[in-house]
């Protein structure tokens, strides 16, 4: 019992895609997902405030949201030093994750800022 060596802080999880199973540490993976989620949520809120200040209405606002999300994705990829496979298991995570949740926050702060700044 005392000699039983196990790495308790990093659990191994294997993806069942191929026979040669690559294992990765889920605790670090969750930490990376949390970082992406925080970054995207904050940038959605800031993008909403800027869209409200600039007075976007209608479709232009959503175009602006996609632009802000694209800039955030580029920033996250640069933060991962352009070697995404070191920190994530697929490209979808760093590009698409948090997109829809961020959209809700963006619209909320967009209408909020627009009302305050332009309608008062």
């Amino acid at each position: 019992m005392a000699g039983h060596s196990d790495s308790s802080s990093s659990e191994k999880k294997s993806s069942e895609a191929m026979n040669d199973v690559p294992t990765f540490s889920t605790e670090n993976m969750q930490n990376n997902m949390k970082v992406i989620y925080y970054s995207r949520t904050f940038m959605s809120i800031i993008g909403g405030v800027i869209a409200g200040i600039l007075g976007f209405t209608g479709f232009m606002g959503f175009i602006f949201y996609f632009l802000v999300m694209a800039i955030t994705s580029i920033g996250l990829i640069a933060k991962a030093k352009f070697s995404v496979h070191l920190y994530f298991d697929s490209w979808n995570r760093i590009i698409l994750d948090g997109f829809m949740g961020g959209l809700m926050s963006f619209v909320l702060f967009w209408t909020f800022a627009y009302d305050i700044v332009h309608i008062f």
């Binding site: 990765f24 990376n32 800031i46 405030v49 800027i50 200040i53 600039l54 700044v117 008062f120």
Partner: protein, 100 residues
């Protein structure tokens, strides 16, 4: 962490200043497209995005055999600490000298 947080607060303050200027009618954003306001807004946006990328923390490598994942530390849980083991049965004398 502290510096990134301050940069983020500074960016939000820039945005508030831009919003206040727009309310007061100093920056007429609705008529002009790209002249006055984007300077304040662009600066605030740049500060906020740099804060958003530095404040949440670093990315950790997920490969178990990368350099920073080599040493795995167990949590300092008292349940796993063993103080009563068989080392007391070892013949360990403090003034033991080499026999020659």
């Amino acid at each position: 962490m502290g510096l990134g947080f301050m940069v983020g607060v500074l960016g939000v303050l820039f945005l508030f200043h831009a919003a206040y200027s727009t309310i007061q009618g100093l920056l007429k954003i609705m008529e002009e497209e790209f002249s006055g306001p984007p300077m304040n807004l662009l600066l605030g946006f740049v500060f906020c995005i740099s804060a958003a990328l530095t404040v949440p923390g670093y990315f950790l490598s997920i490969h178990p055999d990368s350099e920073e994942n080599r040493i795995v530390s167990l949590s300092a849980n008292l349940d796993f600490m063993i103080f009563n083991h068989r080392a007391k049965a070892l013949p360990l004398e403090t003034d033991m000298k080499l026999k020659h």
